[in-house]
Subunit: 148 residues, 2 copies
């Protein structure tokens, strides 16, 4: 394969993931708007519903996001009353994120979202699992390279 084709193939693969991610985000928009959440805020809350009381660093590691993105996002969610940000007295460099009762109760409303989304996108369980596996494999490999 020559450079010309490689440039096209490259375009197709990386671009496909990139465009797909944006289209997924757009699909979420009408479902998240009634809750007053953006997609990134929803992703952050999903992580916190599974485990909160974590530091910004730890949350960022799980979401592949750094403080430059998380700090303003978490401040917004704090203003909305969904979580608290507290300096850890043990080590004041760390900021711990705790969900408030309102933050926890949002989960009940969010539970309706995935089903709506799967139906809307017409994605089967097999396809979902397949895509998930492949993306995670690629993600891990890329991230390792990215760190090195």
């Amino acid at each position: 394969m020559d450079d010309e084709d490689l440039l096209k193939l490259d375009n197709q693969i990386c671009f496909a993931v990139y465009a797909c991610a944006r289209e997924i985000t757009k699909l979420y928009h009408p479902l998240l708007q009634p809750l007053g959440l953006t997609y990134t805020q929803y992703i952050a809350l999903l992580a916190l519903w599974e485990k909160d009381g974590v530091t910004v660093k730890e949350l960022g590691r799980r979401l592949y996001l750094d403080s430059g993105t998380l700090t303003p996002l978490l401040k917004k969610l704090e203003t909305s009353g969904y979580l608290t940000r507290t300096r850890d007295p043990e080590d004041e460099r760390n900021v711990r994120i705790e969900l408030t009762p309102q933050g926890r109760s949002l989960k009940r409303q969010a539970c309706a979202i995935p089903e709506k989304l799967f139906v809307q996108a017409g994605v089967t369980a097999e396809e979902a699992a397949n895509v998930h596996g492949q993306m995670m494999e690629l993600l891990r490999r890329i991230h390792r390279q990215d760190e090195a």
Copy 2:
């Protein structure tokens, strides 16, 4: 499967695509920096190297991006001397994008990028084709739903 599990699955799949797209962008950064290009600018140029003389609308359709994103991006590439933006005399609502000789010559430098990236990410041709197929299939399906 209960709502709780659905929420987790949803989290995993959509998040995997979303995080993967961002990690890919980061992987490109050191390769694009010497050319003075961002990832989105690179993607736009890839599309234009395949076919230029198109309207902003047509380019946006191919990239899944709207004028809100493309207008400032194309203005930057125009300032850099890589393309021209001209109102179509036939229909002045349309703005046509044409590559300049400098814009075309950038392609030769960009030819080295895909190979470097594949090697760096350790992605095989099979895996690449597999991921690509799945993403395009998902992309098409989601986009159809998104339009409806």
